[in-house]
Structure formats: C-alpha cells, structure tokens
C-alpha cells in the first residue's frame, strides 16, 4: 500500500512553514540557521517524493547535493555569526542594522 504523494507534500509544506515560523519569530542567529536547515530539508522531502512519483532517481540524487550545499551554507553561516558576535557582542539579528539607510 503506497502512501499518496499528497501526504509527502503536506509534510514537506509543514516542515517548511515551521522553518519559516522560526525565521519570523526568533531573534537568535543560531536558531535562524536551524530554521533554514528545516526549510532545506522540507525541500529534500519534496525531491524524494517526486522521485518516487516519476520513478526517476534524479530527485534523490539532487537531495544529496542539497544536503552538501546545506553543509556549505551552515559553514559560512556560522562564520558570519561569529563575525556578527564580534561586532555587536550579540547574536540577535535585529540588532545588526548598521547597513540600513
């Protein structure tokens, strides 16, 4: 008995929106990174689900690459957070507003 693809997509949408919720409500940059990770993995679920839908491996391979890219993103993101902390003595993203206007 196969699970219909809609449920996978619903799960992915839920994960994505949880990630968005985190981005919107949190002020800590590290939590931001985690939320972004959630959103990326929601996309992975989509890819895998569609791979099964079409009987094609491309989506699965692609999700691997997404994970690799997520690793790169986290590496850079952590670096940025370090610099952020060094300049503002805080990891609150709402305080880093020197570049506006």
């Amino acid at each position: 008995m196969a699970v219909p693809v809609q449920w996978y997509l619903l799960l992915s949408a839920a994960m994505f929106c949880i990630g968005v919720f985190g981005v919107l409500t949190r002020r800590n940059a590290l939590l931001f990174l985690m939320s972004v990770e959630l959103m990326l993995n929601a996309a992975n679920i989509n890819l895998v689900a569609f791979a099964r839908l079409w009987g094609n491996l491309t989506g699965q391979v692609f999700s691997l690459f997404t994970m690799a890219l997520a690793a790169a993103e986290v590496a850079v993101g952590i670096g940025i957070i370090l610099v952020l902390y060094r300049n503002f003595s805080d990891v609150d993203v709402t305080r880093a507003t020197t570049m506006r206007w």
Binding site: A2, P4, V5, Q6, L9, L10, A13, A14, F16, C17, I18, V20, F21, L24, T25, R26, L31, R52, L53, W54, G55, N56, L57, T58, Q60, V61, F62, L64, F65, A68, L69, A71, A72, E73, A75, V76, I78, G79, I80, L82, V83, Y85, R86, S89
Partner: protein
C-alpha cells in the same frame, strides 16, 4: 535565575509574523490537497536504488532506474564545499594579528573582556578587570 535554558515559545509581539507562516501553510495545504498527481510510478521491487544513485553521480548508466548524469554538479559541489570551508575559516579568523587565541576558547566564543555586561558576571563579580567566564 529561574529562566529555563531551553528555548521557549514566546508569543505576543512574535505572533503576528508567525501567523504569516501559518497562512503560508494553509495556502500550501489547500494547493497540495486540491492537486491531482495521479498514482505514483514507484520503483521496481528489485531495483538497486542506492547503486543507481552512485552510478548517476558519475554519469554511469549501469543503474536499473533511469536518472540524469550529475558528474559536473558533483564536481561543482565539491568546489563549493571547499570554498565554503575556506570562507568559514576566513570569517572566523580574527582580523589583525593572528596570535589572539580568544576565539578558540570553549566559552561560546565570548571575549573575556566583554563579559562585564553579562548578567551572571554582574552578580558574581563587580570587578571589571577580572577575567570572567569559566573561572
């Protein structure tokens, strides 16, 4: 000092932006549930999925399941990862003289001199010149 150390959901001023995410989910759910995707093709029962993925990464066509070739993407990702690591190291390094090892301390990256503003330091230590943190 009764603050929990785990994150707690603070509503209030954060509720409104959070509602935007909920609204997005509602719309997505409507879209997904309203769509008709047909029956999934699925994979053959005896197909080697993992082997197929491995072959697809190197443009080899020995796999049982059709896929596109990803050799160029593979190499690109390899370079991007490398660059990201270098970038992360560069960002993490302190500007100026490299002999300052403070960033390597396991106190969450906090500079000891900047500890004076911390609430725990304010209670336990009123002397600004004293090194704080993990003493």
């Amino acid at each position: 000092m009764t603050d929990p150390t785990w994150p707690r959901l603070k509503l209030g001023s954060h509720l409104l932006p959070g509602l935007a995410a909920v609204a997005l989910f509602a719309v997505l759910a409507v879209v997904v549930l309203g769509g008709d995707f047909g029956a999934a093709e699925g994979f053959p029962a005896d197909a080697g999925i993992t082997a197929g993925i491995g072959y697809a990464m190197f443009n080899l066509s020995f796999g049982d399941v059709p896929s596109e070739g990803f050799l160029v993407a593979f190499l690109t990702i390899a370079i991007v990862l490398d660059a990201a690591l270098d970038g992360a190291v560069m960002l993490a390094k302190r500007e100026g003289d490299g002999d300052d090892a403070l960033t390597a301390l396991t106190d969450g990256g906090r500079v000891r001199d900047a500890l004076g503003g911390d609430e725990t330091a304010g209670e336990t230590n009123n002397d600004d010149t004293v090194d704080g943190g993990d003493r």
